[in-house]
Amino acid sequence: MPLTISISEKAAKKAREFAQKDAVEDFGLRVGVKGGGCSGLTYTLSIDPESRPDDKVIEENGIKLYVDKKSYVFLAGTILEYDDGLNGKGFEFHNPNAKTTCGCGTSFSV
């Protein structure tokens, strides 16, 4: 299993669309986790104009992912995808570290 975080082509395209809506040109997609949610950890996703000194920066499908070191520990191996359509869930984290997830699927534990 690759110890990195990857983003699918569709998810990268969608992230670029969101950034364009916000008129942000040079940006990265900040991927992280925070404490909370029923299971203990929830995913965070935001458009960030610049990386921070301790970030791990990963580039794939024409998009930069910014991940802080602590979040990276919980996200290594994750694939970020985008599920569209009427029943689509939007951005989805496929995280091999997640042992349990809560009923609504937005939080997980390792």
Binding site: G32, V33, K34, G35, G36, G37, C38, S39, G40, L41, T42, D68, K70, S71, T100, C102, G103, T106, S107, S109
Partner: protein
């Protein structure tokens, strides 16, 4: 050579020794068991004001813009929106909804005061740290640099010269030449105020309160009061073995605040009436059992005891214990397995009120 664990002493050790305290180890600390007359100390708490050293409890100072938000995401009660001078008790829970600690959280304006149970401060700090990612939050253990006194009883507020506060609300009070942060915290189940003071001023505040008429109270009398009031204690009624609903901590749970760690389990247990056992009071008809003894109903296992005291209000032994939910109603007779024999007990409503 075998090492012997040395109990720590609080900043009030000398003052209490001078007042005739008989000390014993409790929770890793050398704490007063009594000051010569346990029943008089108990009566002071019931009828006037008694003074207890709660310095063994952990104190954390939480600063940073995200403190309330993070604690809100990690615990059962709604903390968002607490303004300066307001507070709430909340339960840190695991993702299985089990109790890590029951915490009063008070907004002192610019910083939060979090009081942990004895020996739990490090565990709570580590838990918060585990779930801190990019948040602006600093947690400082101020247990060593402060003392925590507790004034309990119907005269407590008057003695402090303060108007009665709502639960977990705070105000500053002057005692002697010292300043103390007073927080209404019914730690023993009865009306009481925690007083947070700088370590160097602890003895002065203690002396001032005694001068005003507060009666020093030891752990023995405090336990009598606590059990009669049905207030759960960490390590006995509160641990990762239990969830907040079993422990009767409903006032510390918000059911409409949104997600927190363990919320799904706690809400499901409550919604579908799946709480397996309940914390109850058990009056013992004959004799005095030991904690942790098993309970039986119709010769079948029905639970276990967690704390036992002599109750001055009932004039017999009173226990707290966890009983299967279907048996957990007032008036239910239970048998307490005590060695080879059985003692008889009956479930009573808590708090137990003193006889007039």
């Amino acid at each position: 050579m075998q090492e012997t664990a040395v109990s720590k002493t609080t900043p009030l050790y000398e003052a209490q020794a001078k007042a005739g305290a008989v000390f014993a180890p409790a929770d890793g600390w050398e704490l007063p068991s009594h000051f010569g007359d346990t029943i008089e100390e108990y009566r002071a708490a019931r009828q006037g004001a008694a003074l207890v050293d709660r310095s063994a409890y952990g104190r954390l100072r939480v600063t940073g813009a995200d403190g309330l938000d993070l604690l809100n995401r990690l615990s059962t009660n709604k903390l968002i929106g607490l303004t300066a001078g307001e507070g709430a008790s909340t339960v840190l829970t695991t993702n299985k909804g089990r109790i890590i600690d029951l915490l009063p959280v008070v907004n002192l304006g610019g910083e939060l005061l979090v009081v942990t149970n004895p020996q739990a401060a490090e565990k709570v700090v580590d838990w918060i740290d585990l779930y801190t990612f990019g948040e602006d939050i600093q947690v400082t253990d101020i247990t060593e640099e402060t003392a925590l006194l507790h004034v309990v009883g119907p005269e407590a507020a008057a003695l402090l010269g303060a108007s009665a506060l709502s639960l977990y609300h705070a105000c500053e009070v002057s005692l002697g030449d010292a300043q103390a942060q007073a927080v209404r915290a019914d730690a023993l189940g009865a009306t009481g105020y925690d007083l947070l003071v700088a370590r160097g001023q602890a003895e002065e505040v203690w002396n001032a309160l005694v001068h005003l008429g507060a009666v020093p109270m030891g752990e023995d009398a405090a336990e009598m009061l606590r059990v009669e009031q049905g207030a759960p204690r960490y390590g006995r009624e509160l641990s990762e073995e239990f969830n907040p609903l079993e422990a009767g901590l409903l006032p510390s749970i918000s059911f409409d605040k949104g997600c927190y760690i363990g919320q799904e389990v706690v809400v499901r247990l409550n919604t579908y009436n799946k709480v397996q056992k309940r914390l109850v009071g058990i009056a013992v008809k004959d004799g005095s059992p030991l904690p942790e003894q098993r309970l039986e109903v119709d010769e079948k296992d029905a639970g276990f005891l967690t704390s036992v005291v002599y109750s001055p209000a009932l004039e017999r032994a009173l226990a707290l214990g966890y009983v299967r939910t279907r048996h957990a109603s007032s008036g239910q007779e239970v048998c307490i397995r005590s060695g080879d024999g059985l003692l008889q007990g009956v479930i009573v409503d808590l708090p137990v009120e003193p006889r007039a």
